[in-house]
């Protein structure tokens, strides 16, 4: 199976690649349109902010490439948010592949932003991405913006408010947490995405 990681910038995308290596998959890091179109699985990682990330995808002429993909696509953290319609972060239009907005988390004195650390992610629908150990467990989150609960929500998490821990629409899926840093749950999600049978 060929897996590519879309190189849309971001300083630490290497760690997703290492997680895939732990699953025995060598993923190519690429911004080449043909390589992305040909891959069996496409992962859109990302850290940083939505507006510069979208600008980079435009500069790389990858917006239409990503919109035209029909194979399973997984967005991770910011990459998940880029799959959505619009983000409040920088008031930017995103790829529009999952029909939901991205909003800033409402912090309070007791609810610190960024939401940083281990929190519980719980599946709220039956979905192959969340089979087995990926359905309910502790995942590592680092983010200040989130997808509200809606039609695309596959799993939820709570930090002051309930938000989407995982979303999906057709072949496009995303997780707000970092599977590469989420121990057993993370490896289960990545394994499911690759189509492996749950261990």
């Amino acid at each position: 199976m060929s897996v590519v990681l879309v190189d849309a910038g971001g300083a630490n995308i290497g760690s997703v690649r290492y997680a895939l290596q732990r699953l025995g998959v060598e993923a190519a890091l690429t911004s080449d349109a043909e390589a992305i179109r040909r891959a069996d699985r496409v992962i859109l990682p990302g850290v940083g902010a939505a507006a510069p990330a979208m600008a980079r995808l435009r500069d790389l002429r990858l917006v239409e490439v990503l919109r035209g993909l029909t194979q399973p696509v997984l967005g991770v953290c910011l990459g998940m948010q880029l799959l959505c319609r619009h983000s409040e972060e920088g008031d930017v239009d995103c790829l529009g592949l999952i029909d939901t907005p991205v909003r800033r988390l409402r912090g309070t004195r007791d609810v610190r932003i960024p939401h940083m650390g281990w929190n519980r992610a719980t599946a709220c629908v039956v979905h192959p991405l969340l089979a087995g150990d990926a359905g309910d467990g502790w995942a590592y989150f680092v983010h200040s913006y989130a997808v509200p609960v809606g039609a695309a929500t596959l799993a939820v998490c709570e930090h002051g408010e309930v938000f989407s821990a995982a979303i999906g629409q057709g072949n496009f899926m995303g997780v707000q947490y970092h599977p590469e840093r989420s121990a057993a749950m993370g490896i289960a999600v990545l394994g499911n995405f690759l189509g492996r049978a749950p261990a």
């Binding site: 940083g48 610190r112 929190n119 840093r181």
Partner: protein, 256 residues
């Protein structure tokens, strides 16, 4: 609900985990990757690697071991020591670290915090603060604490610096209370409470952990998001699984 983090701090030098008085009498305790996996298996929520040789030598962190750790570790980790530029931070993050922690370089040039936050996002930027109460009752920031011969008191009030660091883009504050550091008599709850009152980003307690009650105090009384510990974990005086189980029974939300 967001869990409270137990963070193991490891001093590294020349590719190994070491212990000893900083800058002298170092004893090699083992390999970095071995330690990382041991703590991961024990249930540590996060690891901090402090490159104790990088900063005084004026050189950047050796990224080879950062990459080795990133390859095997499936929990988050932060790298501290010797990061004084966007380029140095980029190398560490590109090698696979999730966060970088800066301390003295941020005091030398506070704009470094803004630059790192702008380049990588606030979630990657941890500001470490060494703090001690002075005779006049004020907590003030100390600089170059890694080297006792260079350590100096700055004019900055600790609470002012916490506020400024957040304004500039710190995504997390690690407050090392030097008065309690190394003596294992508990975290400095009064100081941490004061810091908590001015921190709207995650706050991590450091310095003084010696018993499980100290962790409970930090979480329950000072409402910190994480508690960092070194020697009490390295010596095996506290085992993380038992510590977490006990904290859980005491009502603290911890990752099982």
């Amino acid at each position: 609900m967001l869990s409270r983090r137990i963070i193991a701090c490891l001093d590294v030098r020349d590719g190994a985990v070491v212990k000893g008085v900083r800058f002298r009498d170092h004893v090699v305790m083992g390999g970095i990757v071995d330690f990382a996996l041991r703590y991961r298996d024990a249930g540590a929520d996060e690891l901090v690697f402090y490159d104790i040789a990088a900063s005084p030598a004026g050189r950047a962190v050796d990224v080879a071991w950062v990459e080795q750790v990133a390859r095997v570790l499936d929990i988050p980790f932060c790298v501290a020591g010797g990061i004084r530029s966007v380029e140095a931070a980029r190398a560490v993050l590109a090698a696979g670290a999730d966060k970088v922690s800066i301390n003295s370089p941020a005091l030398e040039r506070p704009g470094l915090i803004d630059e790192l936050a702008g380049a990588f996002g606030v979630q990657c930027v941890v500001v470490g603060i060494d703090s001690l109460r002075d005779a006049d009752g004020e907590w003030r920031v100390r600089q170059y604490t890694g080297d006792p011969s260079r350590t100096r008191t700055t004019a900055r009030r600790t609470l002012d610096w916490i506020v400024e660091a957040q304004r500039r883009g710190a995504g997390e504050i690690v407050l090392n209370c030097m008065g309690s550091d190394g003596v294992r008599q508990g975290y400095d709850i009064a100081q941490l409470r004061a810091a908590r009152a001015v921190s709207r980003v995650p706050l991590v307690a450091s310095g003084g952990a010696g018993a499980r009650e100290h962790f409970l105090d930090a979480f329950a009384k000072a409402d910190v998001d994480g508690a960092l510990a070194a020697s009490v974990l390295h010596t095996g005086a506290l085992e993380i699984p038992a510590l977490k189980a006990w904290l859980g029974e005491a009502g603290v939300v911890v990752r099982a």
